[in-house]
Symmetry: C2
Subunit: 251 residues, 2 copies
């Protein structure tokens, strides 16, 4: 999909055949008013089109969205068909089309997710990270797609507050950030979260939902465990990441 | 749906027309090997039937399940049709039918969820609660169904480790547990989590995903907030509950 831009963008959007997002596409979609407002506020330069459902209630939010889109010179129209194609849920009344940003994460503290597989989990982690001020997120492939509309929605738009960079291996990430102190969250770790001191710049590293982190991570990083009873095999990934982020920011 | 029991149960199960669970049914289903094993280990008296997919790999787990079911005198059979009816996901190879328990929560510390609406969230909270030793869960209706197969699955079977009781109002809950100290998690609370001391027996109270707790809760309980930046409107409900449970158990 080529992204319509510039003076004739509006016309081109009107002619364009809108398709569901597939990984690798240049544009994706923020489904719902809350994610759309986050998109407009945080990434106005990525916004490419705004669609309102004919059923959208004309309230503060829709007016605000139409106004901001107009200021940005962005096409904003009522269009039922787009909703039928892009949205499964009945309660979606606004959609923003955006060009996927190509971020580089900055020096500093990072959240590093190794092979997260679930879009909902990835979105929830992004929402928590934005809430606790972890604004640079490294994702090691293969992994769920941060800009898939499902992830964007689960993040409630927090995806637009973060710098997100994909790396093809943990080694590639490590190569760029040699000075970060690495803390790997693993079940068989030597130290519990409450006994761990986090020295900046640090990387909080979390593994895949089903498999956790490969054992080799204990060879090159500090390992940390959030203790839980034998009644469960592990904490849910976004819960573990959320507890860790809260702890690090409040201790 | 009448639940087949006793000597002729196996025959009756074979003749029974299996239907998808609806709220109010006497029996529900644990979909997947992990939830099924939790069901058998923690609630053997509730187990009514076991179904294995013909595609189930014959490993330790399937053998263990068949053995335990046999000990309990429970029907255990390979049955493809049941999976087509009950399971949406291709990766479900074992199903346990169980009679829904009618628990009463005990005196002591409680998690209280006021009108949680999402089955996945409720299941995730149950998993975290079991992990941190909060074994008595009060749910105020209207609310998602703790024994819906979706909730059971999201809990990874932790639902079978907990006592869960539904109350038709918060007043009904309060009436039974007059001595519990109430801590309500609200965005406009007076005190942050890290400054709050929790005096047992206590109730950690969380509101609905979209609306939080009604303002009136600040009138009859201590209010607590988990501070987060303005980049998000609120933390995700299971994340907030997970952080609170972790904090209370580790401070």
């Amino acid at each position: 999909v080529r992204v319509p831009r510039g003076e004739n963008a509006n016309k081109q959007w009107r002619r364009m055949k809108i398709k569901r997002y597939k990984s690798g596409d240049e544009i994706s979609y923020a489904l719902g008013m809350a994610p759309l407002i986050e998109l407009i506020n945080n990434r106005p330069e990525q916004l490419r089109a705004v669609f309102l459902s004919p059923q959208a209630i004309e309230n503060e939010n829709t007016e605000k969205v139409l106004e901001l889109a107009k200021e940005l010179g962005i096409s904003a129209e009522k269009n039922d068909k787009v909703f039928n194609i892009l949205s499964d849920k009945g309660n979606c009344f606004a959609i923003g089309a955006f060009e996927i940003p190509k971020d580089k994460i900055r020096e500093g503290d990072h959240i590093v997710l190794v092979n997260p597989s679930d879009a909902g989990n990835l979105g929830t982690i992004m929402r928590t990270a934005a809430g606790f001020g972890f604004l640079d997120l490294a994702v090691i492939s293969p992994a769920a797609d941060a800009f898939d509309p499902k992830t964007v929605r689960a993040s409630m738009g927090a995806v637009f507050s973060l710098n997100i960079e994909y790396f093809s291996s943990f080694g590639d990430y490590r190569e760029r950030f040699k000075n970060n102190k690495l803390y790997s969250f693993m079940l068989d770790a030597k130290r519990t979260l409450s006994k761990t001191e986090f020295t900046p710049p640090f990387s909080l590293i979390f593994g895949n939902e089903a498999h956790g982190l490969p054992a080799e991570f204990s060879g090159f990083s500090e390992t940390v465990v959030i203790p839980h009873s034998a009644k469960i095999d592990s904490l849910n990934l976004p819960i573990a990441a959320g507890i860790a982020m809260y702890f690090v920011k409040n201790n």
